[in-house]
Amino acid sequence: MARYPAELIRKRYLFDGSEVTIRPIKADDAPIEADFVRHLSPESRYSRFMVTLNELPATKLRYLTDVDYDKHMAFVATLPRDGKETEIGVARYIVDPKGASCEFAVAVDDAWQGSGVAGILMATLMDTARARGLTSMEGIILASNHKMLKFARQLGFTLHHDWDEPDTIQVVRPL
């Protein structure tokens, strides 16, 4: 079992003053990750997974939470709600087989979109990837997701259209 990188845990603040914990995900997070996905709007869920689903299958949930912190790194943003830790966002990267670049994915609870949490998660993810020697990050975004495409541009990603895949756009940035 991979060592939990507790040194990467941070307290951060959103634009409304809420304090959030940004920390690497862990296998025990399966219940809060499942709740998080369940509470996403159908649009947000589709934007993230690019398939229609209501519940994450157990195998997918395990894949998303039981990561090795090396080839697969993920950070969650959590805050306390009704006495329990609640996930409001998650960002991850998977290192490609050649080991120099990685592919990211990010999702934020609909109620917390615009709060600044996505920017914090992505900055954390890019800093971590850079610190580990990765040289570029890329992602696949639905061509209809204008908000996410603008966000990627603001983060320094460039957009690449593949006319064989007109429904999605590849975004890439050096680290």
Partner: protein, 86 residues
């Protein structure tokens, strides 16, 4: 800089990020992001610009205090500038 000049400078910063806004229609005691279409990265840029323009340190833990035009002006008035604003 007096309060009025600080207010005008803050509005100028917001306008530099959202040039389409009508500055005369900003209600000073209502959250700016409820009045102007600023996404989270735009808003972060406003804060970065304020930090540079007024040469002040704005801690992330203070972001929650910067909701309205009045609140931003009050915050900047109370903060010691590192240098004269440029």
């Amino acid at each position: 800089m007096d309060d009025k000049e600080i207010r005008a400078a803050v509005v100028a910063v917001v306008r530099s990020i959202a040039p389409e806004i009508d500055a005369d229609r900003i209600e000073s005691d209502k959250p700016l992001r409820d009045q102007i279409d600023l996404d989270s990265m735009d808003w972060l840029n406003v804060i970065v610009e304020l930090r540079e323009k007024f040469r002040v340190d704005i801690a992330e833990s203070d972001y929650g205090k910067l909701q309205t035009l009045n609140a931003i002006v009050d915050y900047l008035v109370a903060r010691p500038s590192r240098h004269s604003p440029g």
